[in-house]
Structure formats: structure tokens, C-alpha cells
Symmetry: none
Subunit: 212 residues, 4 copies
């Protein structure tokens, strides 16, 4: 059975169990439309599905997934701001109350960012271009931890990149406004796959601390 056939089989299981059990919920969500309370900005990584990791129900989470769960800054030039468009949809149209930036351990995008030496020219292609969003995180780590093991640098950079994205969220005027009015809250979370732990950024201690 190739992988596409496996997905079709998986859909049939979903159809028999999850869909049938949640039939009333799906009907309501179809009739009334979605009204999620939370946006999650997650990574494309196949090991970290935001809905599964939070055991959420259909309709709960508006989920953006890109490489390394990054939020670029507000910019009106350029084209195809996919993540910005999704934030606009969730914040202005769906009026969510929370945005969770959900990072995770062993992120390939962050590792690629750190693989270059401090003075290197940035790599070619879309990934290198995209990862520039997190260049402040890289710079902080390289300036403080130069010479330490790469594993430790990667982990630190994964967490710093979440803080960069939280900063970038505030560059969107319609986010800043709602945050100031306490209509919208921003959260930085980090899923540590290895130990099955979920950490949250605590601005008071300036650390990521276990939620669970």
C-alpha cells in the first residue's frame, strides 16, 4: 500500500469514527461557520501537529503552518504574504482571542539557519530567504554561545525565534491595538518532543517553563 492509499484508508477511519462521533459538531460548524478562539502558528514538521498535540476538537484552532513557525514583520511591499494574510483572517475576521506561536525541539529550519558560520553569505533559495525572519534569533545565539555544542545552540535559537515572532506580531497595527486593549493575548510555547513536555514563555522570568 503506497502512502496515498494509506491516507485514503486513514480518511475512511476518520469518516467512520471521528466524523460520525462529531457529526453534530461538524453540522453546526458547517451551518454557523467556524469561530475558533485561538490561532496557532506552528511548524510544518511532521512530528508536531498542533491539533493533535493539544488534543483539540474541530473548530478549536485556526492553524498556520510554515517552516520554523515564524511570523514575518508587517510589510506592505512584496507579494504573497501568506502568513500575514492568515493572521489578518484570524484576527480581523474571526476575532480570535489568542495567538500561540508553537515552536518545537529539533527544528530543521532553525538548524539550517545555524549551520552557516557567523560571517557566511546566506544560502540560496526560498528557505534561506524565509529563515532571515529569524536572523535576530540567530545573532543573539551566536553572540552569546559561540563555541558551545550545536545542539544547545539550536535549542536556544528555537526559543529565541519564538520571541522574535512575538515581537513581529506586534508590528501588525491591528494586533498591537487588540493586545493593548486586552482583547487578544500572545503566547510563546515550545514543544519538547524528546521529553513530551510543553513549555511556555514567561516574560516575568524571561524563561520557557513547563506548562504541564
Amino acid at each position: 500500500m503506497n502512502h496515498i492509499e494509506k491516507l485514503v484508508e486513514g480518511f475512511k477511519r476518520f469518516r467512520r469514527h471521528n466524523y460520525e462521533e462529531n457529526r453534530a459538531l461538524f453540522d453546526r460548524l458547517t451551518r454557523q461557520g467556524q469561530s475558533p478562539k485561538t490561532i496557532v502558528v506552528g511548524c510544518c514538521d511532521s512530528r508536531v501537529d498542533p491539533a493533535i498535540v493539544t488534543d483539540s476538537d474541530p473548530g478549536d484552532l485556526f492553524i498556520i503552518r510554515n517552516v520554523a513557525n515564524l511570523v514575518p514583520p508587517f510589510e506592505t511591499s512584496g507579494n504573497y504574504h501568506g502568513t500575514s494574510a492568515a493572521l489578518e483572517f484570524g484576527v480581523r475576521h474571526l476575532e480570535v482571542e489568542n495567538i500561540v506561536v508553537l515552536g518545537h525541539a529539533h527544528c530543521g529550519g532553525i538548524r539550517a539557519l545555524l549551520d552557516e558560520a557567523p560571517g557566511d553569505k546566506p544560502g540560496e533559495g526560498f528557505i534561506a530567504e524565509w529563515m532571515k525572519v529569524a536572523s535576530n534569533a540567530r545573532n543573539r545565539v551566536l553572540s552569546r554561545m559561540h563555541g558551545e555544542p550545536l545542539e544547545k545552540q539550536v535549542r536556544a535559537c528555537e526559543q529565541e525565534a519564538i520571541l522574535v515572532s512575538l515581537d513581529n506580531l506586534l508590528t501588525f497595527p491591528w494586533i498591537l491595538e487588540r493586545v493593548a486593549q486586552r482583547k487578544l493575548a500572545l503566547h510563546g510555547w515550545y514543544f519538547d518532543m524528546e521529553h513530551g513536555e510543553l513549555l511556555a514563555y514567561n516574560p516575568g522570568s524571561n524563561r520557557f517553563e513547563a506548562l504541564s
Copy 2:
């Protein structure tokens, strides 16, 4: 209990059940890294989680989620090509064998695209800018179905937009090359929430047909 507390409770359930049951799998995925066989380009919509709808396991799907599950064309100008970066990561680094563009019924992004009259100037903001990726889909529907009920137009446009994204996937040279060599297969799927059906585009009949 607010929504963030609910998510934390959900994580604890995930931790006790899903994570414990898949402990060996998570360990292996952490040690060896991910090697998903399929990219899914899905919508941010809270009702359509690709991993849940296909009952997939951790490590199975590299998932990109943006508004209306769109793939923009290959373009080297502009900045922050989030979706293109994710495709590059999945195709060139992870060497997936399939890309599924997973559309769905009742898509808010597609409805926004059709709400404008044929002669209207496009709206402002990131969503309108982003949805331009699907303007060929909109044009086809407006040219053929002008005057028909909006619901029918939206459904047709949701499906045409999948075809536009399939065309756009082929504009990436490293995708076209692999498709021509039969190393990578492209699929257009449509999840009909209302009836719990999964349809796939059949190029032979030029129709979306039930998979299940």
C-alpha cells in the same frame, strides 16, 4: 476555563495517551529525524486538520497551512515566500513522494474572493493580496457561472483554486523535474465537510470524484 487552559488540559491528555502510546515512534523520530512521504498544503480553517482528517501518525505528513490552501507561482523576487520555502524544504530536503493540495468546502478565503463583483477593484490588505494567487479560479467561475447561487460558485471556485495550485506547483523547476521523472506525484483533494466525503481530481474526466 479559558481557551488557553483548555489547550493545556488537551496537552496533558495528549501526553498521557497519544504520546505514551507512540513513545517508541516519537523516540525514533527524534533520533533519526523526520522522513515524511507526503506534503499536504491545507487551509488554516479550524474545521479541516489534515492530520486528523487522514488519521495520520506523527511523522507521516509535512503540513503547510495557509489561507485557502494556495500555492503561489515560483517567483524569485519579493520576500518571505513562506509556502515556497516550505515546499523547498519538503521536496528538496525531505524528498517527499507526494504533494496533496487539500481544499475544502465552505472556505472563507474563497468566499471573500468571490464576494467582489466582476468589475470591482480588489480589496485592500494581506488577504486580498494573497487571494490573488487564485484569481484565475475566480475568473473561470465568474465567466461561466455569473448569476448562479453564490454557494455553487464558491464550491466551483474552491475546486478550480486547487487546479490553479497544481499548475503553480509545476512552475517550481525542482518540482517539475521530479514529476516528469515520476519521483513525485501531485494530487488535488477536496474535503466536503458537509457530507463527510473526500474527493480527488481526476485529470481524465476533469472532475473531482469520491475517493472513499
Copy 3:
């Protein structure tokens, strides 16, 4: 007799026969101006003259001829949009009721487009630049028919390029509007010189089918 002398001799024959026989028509067309009902976008190819192939009278067809009968997408940047200017003249000033994109077999422009391998960089010069209009047609053919005989690929690409031009016609707002209002109809035709057949695209069957 060189070719220019032959053309002058040809004009004399035209003058004696066609012009004299249609004297009243030419007089009327001169006094009242032209009011063609149809635009034809045809190829420059010397073997496929749209007025001759449809045995049309003076005044019947507003004819645009460029390499490979392409319609570029609506774009307000750039200069010297010759085809777009001609469409604007025919649609907005002459108010034609039909646009026929007339492709044909053995098109040199399409063959040039396919001569490059999937991963090749595009060639230099105006032709390569112009033929980029049809790159989606090329991609579709290369993704589906890689390894098949070039003749079959060229024929498929000639037909796909017509569909790309039909899509591109709809990107002009004053075309989309008239098509939606049923004031203007778009047609994709294909002249098969070898067999003397004229095929038309049928959106229902997604095929080119014999008209004659």
C-alpha cells in the same frame, strides 16, 4: 520575378477580382468604418491565415497575429503590450462579440518552447521571453508526457497553450465583465493542417473536438 514583384502581381489580381467584386462592401466599410463581430488571435505562421482558413469577407475579422497565437495576462507594468492593445481596441471600441484563439499544428514557437529539457534555463532573446506566456502549458505537458515522442508533446502543448490564453483573456477586467454578462464569448480553436480539420475546445469534455 522576386517575391516582392510577386506580391505586387498578387495585388493586381486582388484589385481586378476581389476588390472589384466587393466594391460596394469596401465603399461601405470605408464610409461607415469597420464593425467586425469577432477577434481572432492567430499565429504569424505563413500556413495559417485566419481570414483564408475561415473564408471570411473583408470587415468580418479583427485579426491579431503573433508567435504561437498567445494572449499574455493583463499587466499594467511593462511597455508595448501589442496584443493587449489590440484586444482593448477590438473589445472596448469595436465591441466584438467573440474572441477566437486559433492555434494550429506544427507551431514553431511551441516546438521551441519544448526543445528545452525540464531543468534547462530558458533561452535568450525575444522569442524565449515571449513564449514564457505559455510556460504553464509546457509544464503540464512535461509533467504528464515526459519521455513520449516530441510530436505528441508538441501537439498537446499547442492545445494546452490555447487554454492558457483563454485563462489569460479572463484576466482583462473588461473581458471578464463582458463574458460574465454574456456579451462576449471566448473560443479555443485548433487548425490541424495535416488533416484539414478544425477542432474546438469543449469545456464539458475537456477535449478539442472536430467542428467540421
Copy 4:
């Protein structure tokens, strides 16, 4: 019978007569490819079909048709240089021996160019943009003939625009080279529909003189 049905009927007549009578010629042109000796740059005008006006056979003329039969200057910036691409194909690939710029009386494009007063801002849209190619012709006419009847100005401008296009042809390095080597000849012709006359530009007298 609508116009599209008329065109199909016209094709059937073409098929029965012209195509059958020229069967051997079409077969040869299909097998050996086209080898026209002459490019004609003609107008889209429905009253002036270059192949009909010169009673030419299939395979004789490589025909470019745009609004007002203009040749833009050689320019490598910008996109979609349709006319330049067609010239490149005819001159460099088909190696034609002649280029005829075929103007005509009562040209709507030229009239539009002259309708603006000398100090006017140019109109909007593709036509105004495209007609800028002929702005030198307009300037010459307005400087010499200001106050004369519009009809006379239009006719003079139609002829001056042919001279501008002849100048522009020489801006293409691969045209200039062949003209200097006497491998390619440039001709400026003017079809006077009203009187059924064909005029050619004579550089010696600096006039358009009857060919027939």
C-alpha cells in the same frame, strides 16, 4: 446563423475548395515546414488582410498583425515584446528576405493618436501606451499640418508611422546587419482602400507612390 456558425461554414468552404486544391502544397508545407520569403507587419483592421490583399498562397507570408502595423524599437527591458519576438522568429529562424510594413487608410489607431490635442496628456490604457510607438509620426504631422483638416492629418500620420517603423526595424541589430549585407530588404507600403491602390515608399522622392 451567428458569426461563429458563419466562420465554421466558411471553414467548410475553405476545406472543400482552397484546402483540396492546395492539398499538395499543404502536404509539402507540413512535411518540410514553412519557408516564407517575406514578413508583413500589418494592422489588425478587418478590412486589410495582407494575404488577401496580395492574393498570396499558403506559405508565402509570415504575418504579424497589431494595432496600426507598428514596429516598436529594440528594447531588452520590459516583457512580452510580441512584435519583436515575431520579427526575431521570421528574420533569424526563417531567414526571410523582405519585411513589408503595410499601412492603410482610415486606421483607427492612428486616428486615436491624433485625436488628442498637442498638449494633451496621453490617454490611459493599452492602446494609448502602444500608440506611443508612433509618437514621432504624430509630432511631425502636428508640427507641419496644425490646423489642416483631420482627414489629411490622419493620412499623413499613417504614412509617417510607416517610416517610424522602418526606422525602428533598423534598431534591431540582427536586422541592421542583414540589411547592410543586402540579405534583407525593408519596404513601406500603404493600402488605400478607398481607391483600391497600393502605394510604396520611395526613398528617392521621399513619397509614397503607386505600385500598381
